[in-house]
């Protein structure tokens, strides 16, 4: 069973549909037992960092996520909440990845919205990823590059498009909205 963590962020049904399209059983849940027992956990999210962290802390879900030993995939806001700190609302985050989340300087259109390439990809998450492949981003804040970066993207500046530490994986882009390329990344994660 794959658990998709339910919290006060949008875009959770899209992730559920994407997993179901891969023919795998999943449940959207905020029940701690169910999350702890899942084979894989997806931590999605579109929304605002401060209210999202508060929601998670109120339910002790932040500690639950940090304690997980099975493969975990954070998506978009999920990735940012797994970092050390976010400039959005000056929010201390879960501190899984050793990176700060910052607002894009307004040197180009913000949010970074649309399809973009990835560079320096590694780990099994990007198995069969081709140089010309693109994925769908929509975000106004970015995670800086750090030792946990496993894919980077260049928009205004180079930032972490994906991160990994032990069993924790995360993507700034939306694999569930990135066509067949995203589907493959999601399948790679679910096969870990």
């Amino acid at each position: 069973m794959i658990a998709i963590i339910k919290y006060n962020a949008g875009n959770i049904t899209s992730v559920e549909h994407a997993v179901k399209r891969l023919g795998l059983p999943c449940r959207v849940t905020d029940e701690i037992d169910e999350i702890l027992c899942a084979d894989k956990v997806i931590f999605p999210g579109v929304g605002e960092a401060k209210s999202a962290i508060k929601y998670l802390k109120d339910r002790e879900l932040d500690e639950v996520i940090k304690s997980l030993l099975q493969p975990v995939l954070g998506i978009c806001l999920g990735l940012q909440l797994m970092c050390r700190h976010s400039e959005e609302g000056d929010t201390p985050c879960m501190d899984i990845f050793d990176a700060a989340v910052k607002k894009f300087p307004a040197l180009d259109i913000v949010p970074h919205m649309g399809w973009n390439n990835l560079e320096k990809v590694h780990t099994p998450l990007f198995r069969d990823f081709a140089k010309e492949d693109t994925v769908y981003f929509v975000h106004g804040y970015y995670a800086e590059l750090c030792r946990h970066t496993i894919a980077q993207c260049d928009y205004i500046l180079p930032f972490s498009a994906a991160m990994q530490k032990d069993n924790f994986y995360a993507t700034q882009f939306h694999p569930e909205k990135s066509g067949s390329v995203g589907e493959r990344i999601l399948a790679n994660f679910l096969r870990l």
Partner: protein, 251 residues
């Protein structure tokens, strides 16, 4: 490099697509889900569904359709038409749409932009602006499907929309829409240079060159087309190849 987006727009009435959809091989040209899937396979970057019935009794039909589309496709899509309240937007987003587009309702109640952005984030809110070049040389905002003039100047309204929390502008030139003579380059340039959020150019696409022009001559992030795609006059893959050959970054 961030790619320029090509966005087919599907008009929806009573849960079905309308307006000359003429794809070879479609079992049912009115089936929005099948058409959406087809566009995804062809390489469309996003889709827009515009509900032209938009009456209260049809909202449920639309929500059902949005659910089916969300289950079926793996690229982002926007739903617009008749979204008047926060509750309308909630229903559409919860059904699985990535974004909602607001037009008349945003002009009548600009706070709606802020309310929806506050709850779901700016990336969920597309401000659709129908604009018309008046005889005095001013581009003015129109509402009610282009039937009613307002006193809003287009660039001012776009800036206000951005300030209130819109994440994107869908700019349709009424002078160009349906002409197939190309996009309105001047107003698209003015709006896309004034705001710092993505602008989708709309209205007037008739040839592949028109798409190239709007990307070369304005800061538009995306271009939308309806009939040119539905009738297969411009196949999306051929358009992408054409733009690539002119060094315009596309997926």
């Amino acid at each position: 490099m961030l790619k320029k987006r090509i966005i087919p727009c599907l008009d929806i009435k009573d849960g079905r697509t309308v307006k000359g959809v003429n794809f070879v091989g479609l079992r049912d040209a009115g089936d929005a889900v099948e058409l959406a899937r087809r566009y995804v396979l062809e390489g469309a970057d996003e889709l827009v569904f515009l509900d032209i019935t938009a009456t209260v009794e049809h909202r449920k039909t639309l929500t059902e359709l949005v659910k089916k589309v969300a289950e079926a496709i793996n690229i982002p899509f926007t739903v617009g038409g008749g979204i008047r309240t926060l509750e309308d937007a909630q229903a559409i987003i919860k059904a699985g749409a990535d974004k909602v587009s607001l037009n008349t309702s945003a002009v009548e109640n600009p706070k709606l932009i802020t309310e929806i952005a506050g709850q779901f984030g700016s990336q969920c809110v597309v401000l659709a602006i129908d604009t018309k070049l008046e005889e005095n040389g001013e581009w003015m905002v129109y509402v009610h499907g282009g039937r009613t003039a307002t006193t809003l100047h287009t660039v001012d309204w776009a800036l206000e929309g951005e300030r209130r929390g819109a994440g994107e502008i869908l700019l349709t030139s009424m002078n160009n829409d349906g002409t197939k003579n190309g996009f309105a380059i001047d107003i698209t340039r003015s709006v896309s240079e004034a705001v710092n959020i993505p602008v989708i150019a709309s209205g007037g696409a008739g040839s592949m060159q028109h798409f190239a022009e709007v990307f070369q001559q304005t800061k538009a992030s995306a271009a939308l087309g309806a009939t040119v795609f539905h009738f297969g006059e411009i196949p999306v893959p051929a358009l992408k190849q054409f733009l690539k050959a002119q060094d315009i970054p596309v997926r």
